[in-house]
Symmetry: C2
Subunit: 478 residues, 2 copies
């Protein structure tokens, strides 16, 4: 029996100005985690959340994470953990979000002040953190408040985990989650994370897979210091020459990874999987719009989605140590570090990928017969993640989407990684669902980040509805 | 008859503390031409020079060069031009130097404050500009003063041209020199530039050749903005992939330029030229020391010197627009610009080189079948220069070196370019001599730039002695 949600929905609608005001207050706190001097604002944002949660009757703790690694003068911002309800007859859902944001400066090209929520005539709400991830985080708080004011019983026990360092590598969080898995989080029956985006702008989705990422440094060094190309060009082995030649053997212009053995690690495409891509609400025009160009590798959506979700890719991000400014400088850099990453997919194990990369890079460098020195190393790796979309957690979310938005959601994967997803799955052993609020045009991490008012308000309805459907799903695991 | 220089030399010795003090005052003015906020200091340094010259009885003009191109809020620093003596029975020598310096910050790794001249226990005088080029510029002033105080008649009329933008492309100077060639500089019988270095640390040299430099930008663009490699990796043509692949076809790790046709433009090596390299005071250990490594392309000095002086070389300096910071960023840069230069030698004409580069780069890019866009352009070019070392200007300098240092100088070329050399030659039609004061270990442009006290003081003697020998050389052109 479908839950009765009308009074809750009506309450969300009538509180919408209040909810936007709450988001405005949150956006006004410039909680930029990557900038040392903004750390007090990050802490302030954590405290703001804690106060709001307490006012709603939740039990809240601000948990310190110690000093920031490599910046011992800085305390990490606290993790805000909270519980709302502890009825043993109800399911317990653990939700995660983050209250820190990416850097933003008006002069980067923002049309409006990034820390002043500004609603335009199309009800787009601009502001840093609006969609990533203050809107979704406040969505849970708003859902609680609307239930209270509508007099509707809250359908589950809600455990909340909101961190303040997501945009800076979630420093300290992994160990915290592992530690609390059998303590604060031990009742969790499933996990829900609202920190990603619809594939397009019209159709909601549930996300059940992410690619992993192995990030490599390829360092070539030779001379004791940078050299003048006039004086030394033609007399010394140049590290840049070697690095460029080695990097040119990694991937071709069609995106094909040239490292032997990588393709063999990839799970074969089954007919069943292949058949899923045609139905996804995505068009090549969506891709061209988000690319800002028509420079796609493929001319059809199925192969494009596979390229993004289920095949590995290799990108060359840049070079540290080489000349990178505008203008002209005649330097022979003494030490250059190529930055390359591979997006990984089932069944690529990190250690296997590393070995193939190391063997290939070292082999190609040996062919050059250079007197320079090359070292290749994996700077960090994060595993891919694929959950079962047949689990009740997904079934409940799918029904909630259909109730709120009137359409069945697409079941999607993502090309990027959200490492905390895998951490929650591994630490709790429970199903993890990614339930996005914003859409593909929200420009998270870019200038003019926004959240559409409709996505925010209907998103609040969705989060509440999801919890109602969760409460009604049969107990079997999917 | 050899000129009588003893009383001049003695005067230089007895004034040496005074001359070092003059250099200390000059180094203390941080005349960094590339930093907008230092522009007042550059101007101050020009005024300091002008005052010193006036005090010595020279006629001096500070000539404005107008606004700085692309920085219309900034006035270019003035060219300091001066004349000392106007006796029509004497030869007139035009000397050039520059009073601006490279940037320098203590935190770059300087052992001492870069703008405080600091003399160590080995009489090495550390400070930005000590050797490049404040020491040599003041050398001319010191030579005048020592003549005055010794009561020795100054042997030539001296025309001076000291600019304040050499370290930033000598903005505005070329046109100035061309304009003044038949005006202020019209009496010049020859030109002398002291702005380069000995090949090693023990033996002085006269320099009669320079390589040219064609500097290229190779721009590859595709997406409308930087992309996230998780979201777009595997779906779009990546500009970095294309650029790296194109740049890998330019030069191999042994330094061989792979662009077809370049080698054919190079003047063949004659037996006569080949025989000159053996006698040059240079060893592979000199190279290893200045490289800070043993990563040389060749294992003998002759081929090394040819690589530096008489063969072209191609260096990849870096990439603008790609990720260049420490750490890890998963960006797909939307537009990347490879910076590549070719050092040119006789008989490579710039237009021919450009055509070969453009054809090759465009051809290699076409092979990639990428949807991205590539444009290649020559950012700037400066021609190679080779003078006649048999001209009286060189003969006089050779005799002066032998008188001061007790050895015949090496006749050398340089791998780098000093574009003003060619400008003076073309504008005045006169022989140009490069007469270095400092040695190969002076670290111009690097941290801990220095000038040995011995090179400074003997260098002042050398500049004066050179003018005396110039006065005695027979009138024929060499």
């Amino acid at each position: 029996m479908a839950p009765q949600l009308d009074s809750y929905f009506k309450q969300v609608d009538s509180l919408s100005d209040h909810f936007i005001e709450r988001l405005r207050k949150a956006v006004a706190i410039p909680s930029v985690s990557s900038e040392d001097e903004r750390r007090p604002d990050v802490v302030k944002m954590g405290e703001f959340l804690a106060e709001q949660l307490k006012a709603l009757g939740a039990s809240v703790e601000l948990r310190p994470l110690g000093k920031q690694p490599h910046k011992e003068h800085l305390d990490l911002p606290p993790v805000v953990i909270a519980r709302y309800g502890s009825d043993s007859n109800k399911r317990t859902i653990l939700v995660y979000g983050h209250y820190d944001v990416q850097p933003a400066l008006k002069e980067d090209g923002w049309a409006t002040d990034p820390f002043t929520l500004t609603v335009d005539d199309k009800d787009r709400m601009y502001g840093r953190g609006s969609t990533d991830d203050k809107g979704p985080v406040l969505g849970w708080l708003n859902a609680i408040e609307a239930h209270q004011k509508a007099g509707v019983d809250f359908p589950v026990n809600l455990l909340m985990c909101f961190e303040g360092m997501e945009e800076y590598g979630s420093e300290g969080l992994d160990d915290f989650i592992k530690d609390e898995a059998d303590k604060y989080f031990k009742d969790a029956d499933a996990v829900c994370i609202s920190d990603n985006y619809w594939l397009g702008t019209e159709k909601p989705c549930l996300t059940y897979g992410l690619r992993g990422c192995n990030y490599y440094s390829i360092e070539v060094s030779g001379p004791g210091q940078d050299l003048h190309s006039g004086v030394f060009g033609g007399t010394a082995h140049e590290p840049m020459t070697d690095l460029v030649r080695v990097m040119s053997t990694l991937v071709d212009s069609s995106g094909k990874i040239l490292i032997p053995g990588i393709a063999e690690l990839v799970a074969p495409l089954t007919d069943e999987e292949k058949s899923l891509y045609g139905d996804i609400a995505f068009t090549m025009d969506n891709l061209y719009e988000s690319l800002g160009s028509q420079t796609s590798l493929f001319d059809n959506k199925e192969r494009t989605l596979m390229g993004r979700w289920r095949y590995p890719s290799l990108s060359i991000h840049g070079i540290e140590g080489a000349y990178s400014a505008p203008g002209a400088k005649t330097v022979i850099p003494a030490k250059v570090i190529g930055k390359v990453s591979i997006r990984t997919v089932p069944n690529m194990e990190s250690a296997d990928v590393n070995k193939l990369v190391y063997d290939h890079v070292n082999g190609e460098f040996a062919k050059l017969k250079s007197k320079n020195k090359l070292t290749v190393s994996c700077q960090h790796d994060g595993k891919w993640w694929v959950a079962s979309p047949k689990h009740w957690n997904f079934t409940a979310a799918g029904k909630a989407v259909e109730h709120v938005w009137g359409v069945k959601p697409d079941l999607t994967r993502e090309g990027g990684s959200i490492p905390v997803t895998l951490t929650f799955e591994q630490a709790t052993g429970k199903n993890v669902l990614l339930l996005p609020m914003g859409s593909s045009t929200d420009a998270a991490h870019s200038i003019n980040e926004k959240l559409d008012k409709k996505n925010y308000i209907e998103g609040i309805k969705l989060l509440g509805a999801y919890l109602h459907y969760v409460a009604e799903e049969p107990m079997k695991e999917g």
